[in-house]
Symmetry: C2
Subunit: 283 residues, 2 copies
């Protein structure tokens, strides 16, 4: 029997293993400076933070520890967004891994959790947008320097996430009861074949459904829209069953262009965790 | 900073990721019922036992726990031999990861360690030879039923390993001061390119050097000899640099024939751990 923390770590490993996952590192693809093994090391490094969450630690403290461990490899940011989904899910799994429970876990986060979230940005470079002018004091790139402002204004971690929607689909999961994560778990459970294949197929379905917010931030909405339309076309034609080569080509092309739908990968990892933890898939 | 237990888990993950590793599951190859993701789950499952060893638990107890967690996946035996090398190495790393220290760790094992080792066989099917007639009462396949005989005869885990040489090159590491494991670490450190590539190249060098004892047990000495001769030929010609395709073909052929040099993979994993833990490689 794996613990929730172990299932979360395994979800991170399975996510990077699923292939083809257009634009991202997968079992068949590396990026130039960010390779498969960095994700392996990131997942192993995250385990202390995941275990803290499994033991009931505060979301912010567990997240900061997980990020600090994840970042102890040379590839840079591998799983920041995925951990931001997994930590509250692991916390919820102590009691019951359901949408209402994870909703209360995130709604009950405090200013101290927000402070730890900001501290986590000091461990790793995360790609973020410029904040609106009135929120400049709360720019996450300030790291711990933003904490006095958080405290002054009484901003909780849930508030921070609420402020990041729209524009960040990891934050959106927080304020929408992890709806896509749970749906991804169902899609993985209903899939066929080995688990990493189901994860890759679910990744494509998720990418077909909404613009990837990391791609929007990095490359603009037009590119993100093009990516989603092409994913939708492949998904609608059942390319996973009938024309895997077309997905492989799309995957290679996005890697070549440096377009990495990282948010979609984060939600896929969350879906894998929910599926493993609920025991609806075998491994 | 990763702990020794985390480096050991990462070594298991990097080992399976290294490709081409002729005959074994690697980043590009699955066997029919034993797939890449089973090794990921095996590595995650082993972590409690590895952590116990890192905290100074007895070798037998830590090994049994690691095997029990490793076996909690549907693929069967993934990393039994590798864990039998890693557990004493992790124990040694608490003090100093050197050959003399790991030698004393294994020499100090007790009858209780032997009993836990036998218990570990109850968690998973491990491929072993028929024992000689006078050792039938100590056949590992008896599992815990052999414990009264172990106790009666005062057999320690080191004694068990000593009795398994020749014929088992994991046991040979125990009685030879982990000589090949430390040498594999040097080879990995001196290699070039990404760490999994270095591991794969070291795997080929190890396979070229001695018959794989798992291949001998399963397919006989003639097959093992043929495998080693072909590995030696590829290695001597520097095929890793000049003719990677020839190694890929050899890898596919061995997978098709069901010839899996598992002992060589175990030593490679041990070498990866030593290299990571000594900080002679970066990841």
């Amino acid at each position: 029997m794996r613990t929730p923390a172990q299932n979360a770590e395994l979800a991170l490993l399975l996510e990077v293993c699923g292939t083809p996952k257009p634009g991202n590192v997968d079992r068949r693809r590396d990026l130039e400076d960010l390779r498969f093994e960095h994700f392996l090391a990131g997942a192993v490094g995250a385990q202390d933070g995941l275990r803290m969450a499994g033991h009931g630690a505060a979301v912010g403290a567990a997240f900061e520890r997980a990020v600090s461990g994840m970042a102890a490899q040379q590839g840079g940011n591998t799983q920041f967004g995925a951990l931001l989904l997994l930590i509250p899910l692991v916390r919820a799994a102590r009691e019951d891994l359901s949408q209402p429970v994870v909703e209360s876990v995130v709604e009950e986060t405090t200013v101290a959790d927000a402070a730890d979230f900001y501290r986590a940005f000091e461990h790793v470079d995360v790609f973020v947008d410029e904040p609106p002018e009135d929120l400049e004091a709360l720019d996450v790139r300030r790291g711990a320097d933003a904490i006095p402002t958080l405290e002054e204004r009484g901003v909780t971690l849930y508030d921070v996430m609420e402020g990041s929607v729209p524009g960040d689909d990891v934050a959106r999961e927080w304020v929408r009861g992890f709806e896509r994560s749970f749906r991804a778990a169902e899609s993985i459970a209903n899939g066929s074949g080995p688990l990493p294949d189901r994860a890759a197929e679910t990744f494509l379905a998720l990418l077909a459904e909404r613009l990837d917010t990391l791609v929007v931030k990095r490359h603009g909405e037009a590119v993100a829209k093009e990516v989603t339309e092409r994913a939708a076309d492949l998904h609608d034609h059942g390319a996973f069953e009938t024309d895997r080569d077309a997905i492989e080509e799309f995957a290679d092309e996005l890697v070549d262009r440096g377009v990495n739908p990282g948010t979609t990968a984060d939600v896929t990892a969350a879906g894998l965790f929910v599926a493993l933890e609920r025991g609806v898939v075998e491994l």
